[in-house]
Symmetry: C2
């Protein structure tokens, strides 16, 4: 009764080739051409009275080797990739920023790549199109909150030639993040490979320094939005809790990168974490709290729409992605 | 260092109320109005040379009680809902049909509700808008394949007033499904509650009977598409394997309903399965094969975009949803 097997599937494939060859004669109706075009990468949902809008900025298919996770064998990393049906050796690292519309303020948490990482990640840089598809104009943004100073989070503040992309937005950044990245002594002390990131922060912030608000994580930074110190990934890495009415959610920023690696194995230290052990401690605390409180979370590098719930497992945690909802 | 707790979140909520009250004075820039509009519900991906397009038809938020799963305690069902972060007592049952563009033929597997279940499921009936957003016109459809005769799968064949919605499409249906639902003796023998479904099949098929192609599941039904007998949910319930080049996928149809209930607990018999024990046997075979072969699967009632991979667990299976891809 149940007849699926490899033979049937291969027979199907063979017949498809035949059918394609015949199709010139067979197609009685105009075929709709294949067009390769995906739906727009935005996703809207409610938290209390607030509308939240996830805006995708594409993906970096990062080639990874045995150095990507500092404290795990590469075979274990490859098994984790296979177990989650991800391509071997190329880790998908999507970028998804979060817009919060309070009804009177439009707030943006992180700004994406500003289409300035396309050489490294040719599938990134789609933020503008998705932001526009969601019905927004950069001029509408009142407030920009920055989680940390890695280029995929701050580059969108400016255009490639140094113009501000959000002319009406006040920019707020974590004070300890500023203290680390803008300090020339830190830049000199950092390994050579980190130097471009230090120079990039200067490119973005040096000439607007007096207009950039620096906050100590732990307090309210916008209406209903509380900053949370979540250090480790970078020295001043910050998460954000969004609350409206009785509802709330937690924007984890880069507390974990790809969840199938680092939510499932929270003790793994990615080479991109400035302080691996501290990042692990922070990650466990955040994921513990998120699972205990059954909070909706968003992760900047989670699969689009980048939100879901954290569950506890025997050795770590897991991500239950949100069910896509057609209506809010 | 990590300062998130309920106090902070509640403080955030309180301040939000204050901020909203002040916003009339504070908002220096025109706020983008909240608009409640979700992105279009289509998702495009490749299987070999074929383009597949998932088209969402909304969702039925079905009130469930202790009768919904015949052979499980309601406490267990409610726990499964809670474990998967679904609303208590209202089971989201999304509808997602599959379009297959072979490059020369446009094939549609199941037709959705035709906006004819909106009284029961007010959030359904969005198929037309999503199909159009994906760039298609009903006139483009060459072939319709039907998995089974439940109204959410066949109603889209016709408009409410009996017109064909896909004027150029050949319609193919499983012969055993036709034999069951179109048989007046079966209709008389069926419980009173099943009568509307029998009458509905007549409304859809009676006047076009001579044009409807009936196939015995197990063979090729369209270029590269093989039908697979998957009886139990209904007497002639059929799945489909799609193959192109070296790639393939499996459209499970209603082999399982909501995956967090029935993929995770494959032995559970939903009240909507005509033959519960047979549905369980079929389900286990299909999920076993899908997990062993690591096949991409699509489920008509899976969370949009309704595709993913099946993994084996201690007591059943789990669904790993696909990672959304911005580019094909």
């Amino acid at each position: 009764m149940l007849q699926i097997n490899r033979r049937v599937l291969l027979a199907g494939a063979a017949s498809a080739a035949t059918a394609t060859a015949m199709s010139g004669r067979e197609a009685a109706h105009a075929a709709a051409p294949t067009n390769g075009k995906q739906a727009s990468g935005f996703y809207r949902y409610k938290v209390g009275d607030y509308e939240l809008i996830a805006i995708n900025d594409g993906v970096w298919l990062r080639a990874i080797d045995d150095k990507f996770v500092r404290n795990a064998g590469f075979a274990d990393v490859q098994k984790a990739l296979a177990d989650s049906f991800q391509p071997a050796g190329k880790l998908p690292i999507p970028f998804t920023t979060l817009v919060i519309n309070t009804g009177s303020k439009l707030i943006l948490i992180d700004t994406g790549t500003g289409a300035q990482l396309t050489a490294m990640a040719p599938q990134s840089g789609t933020w503008d199109a998705n932001f526009a598809a969601a019905g927004f104009d950069p001029k509408n943004v009142d407030t920009i909150l920055i989680s940390h100073f890695h280029p995929d989070h701050i580059n969108g503040i400016k255009t490639k030639d140094g113009q501000l992309r959000f002319p009406n937005a006040e920019i707020s950044v974590p004070a300890p993040e500023w203290a680390y990245w803008m300090d020339d002594a830190q830049m000199s002390a950092a390994p050579e490979g980190a130097r471009p990131a230090f120079l990039n922060t200067r490119r973005i912030f040096a000439d607007i320094a007096k207009d950039v608000k620096r906050f100590e994580p732990g307090g309210e930074v916008a209406p209903g939005i509380t900053s949370i110190a979540a250090y480790g990934h970078t020295p001043g890495h910050t998460a954000f809790a969004v609350a409206s009415g009785n509802a709330s959610m937690l924007a984890l920023s880069d507390t974990t990168n790809n969840p199938w690696l680092f939510v499932r194995n929270p003790e793994w230290q990615a080479v991109i974490d400035t302080d691996g052990p501290l990042a692990v401690t922070t990650r466990r605390k955040m994921l513990d709290r998120a699972s205990a409180d059954r909070m909706l979370v968003q992760g900047y590098h989670f699969p689009f729409p980048a939100s879901g719930y954290i569950t506890k497992t025997a050795n770590g945690y897991d991500l239950m992605p949100v069910m896509w909802q057609a209506t809010l």
